[in-house]
């Protein structure tokens, strides 16, 4: 019997509590305790990025994060991006550019792309490639993914021009 611990944190804008095993990953908590399955399990070792979430505005591999460490923090998952206007543009761009093939890496890619665009609004193709280097697409559809992220970036810039 492993030890449980109760934590309180903000998940997709809503304060909530959860009782988690102390050695459980944030990914397992999201999928199995809370029931949000948009965040994917890929490798469980931080190599593939399918489980990327945002914690206090930074992207992390939820498979490497201890669930207990969510205490007091602001966690956003792919489900939380549904209410985010900037993410609407990103989601549309992924669709328009055909940046989704089997779709398994997509939630992680979108989470990482949203973090990348928030921290480096001027990211060019080279910076985008570096930004998503922790996300693997086993369909190898990287070109379209990079194009999709770059299009949101340039669409943004046009919007910002007076």
């Amino acid at each position: 019997m492993s030890l449980n611990h109760e934590i309180e944190f903000t998940l997709n804008g809503v304060k909530r509590r959860a009782t988690v095993r102390v050695d459980m990953s944030a990914l397992d908590m999201l999928r199995e305790v809370i029931g949000l399955t948009g965040t994917k399990y890929g490798c469980g070792e931080g190599e593939c990025g399918a489980c990327t979430i945002l914690v206090d505005g930074l992207s992390l591999n939820s498979c490497l994060m201890f669930a207990v460490d969510c205490q007091g923090r602001n966690v956003v998952t792919i489900e939380g991006l549904a209410a985010d206007a900037k993410a609407d543009a990103l989601r549309a761009a992924f669709t328009e550019h055909g940046a989704v093939q089997c779709g398994y890496c997509t939630p992680g890619m979108v989470m990482q792309a949203s973090h990348l665009l928030a921290s480096q609004p001027d990211a060019d193709a080279a910076a985008i490639k570096r930004g998503i280097e922790g996300n693997l697409c086993r369909c190898t559809g990287y070109k379209k993914i990079v194009d999709a992220i770059a299009s949101v970036n340039s669409a943004d810039k046009q919007g910002a021009t007076p």
């Binding site: 931080g46 973090h115 570096r130 922790g134």
Partner: protein, 289 residues
Amino acid sequence: MTEIEQYVAPSSLEQAAEYLQRPGGVTILAGGTDLMPQSQGGRLKIRRTLMNINHIPELQGIAIEGGAIRIGALATITEIMQSELIKKHLPILIEACDHFASDQIRNAATLGGNVCNASPAGDMLVPLLVLDAEVELASKPNGSLSRRRLPLAEFFVGPGKTRLGEAELLAGLRIALPSAHHYARFFKFGTRPALDISTISIGIAGVLQDGALANVRVAFGAVAPVPMRAPRTEQALEGKRLDTASIDAIADVARDEVTPIDDIRATAWYRKELIHNITKRMLAHVAQS
């Protein structure tokens, strides 16, 4: 099966040092990026008490303190990479951060974790060695908090093994502010830029004057049971005018000084060749600086 009996998340160093004396041992949780795969993969068993140190202010931040830069053990790789102090005074650390895993891991992984994990291939360890970094260790042996310092070069004793005592915690790293003309470069060789464990890595530092390095520090990663200083290579390089012949001779010394093994990433022979060829390349760069 883990048999964790207690989970604690202290908010001060003093409290943490007290918890470290609990019987049955304490496993420390910081970024989790090493602890999670090691514990899930069965390579490490979490001890009776799991202690989350992420809420301890004394372990955070990057600041100048008495002629040295102190990097708190909890500073993440991203924080180091974005620190103006580090960019200005210790740019070699930025080079190492830039080749560290991926954005997601850099956002979580801490410098203290990289040091305590003591991998011979740990990305930050070689540059810290050539910067003469010291570890700051905290404990509470007789009811009061005490700290000791140890050169990082003496901290590593084997793969995953350090001189950190049972009831001790790594609080931070200290690096003396480099003098003018200080030169320090890092090179990591891997098969892809991201998320690769280095096949070898090299750090070279010293005071550069008239095309020669003085007070030389050389360190190598992934070619011995610990990230190693290379005293023979340092001696060969000390004060030497760098031309084709001397660079060749020094690179030979470097190749002979390392003791790599064959593993999944490379053979021992290949690692020795890499040490030779990349030392040569780095010294050619010093000669041109």
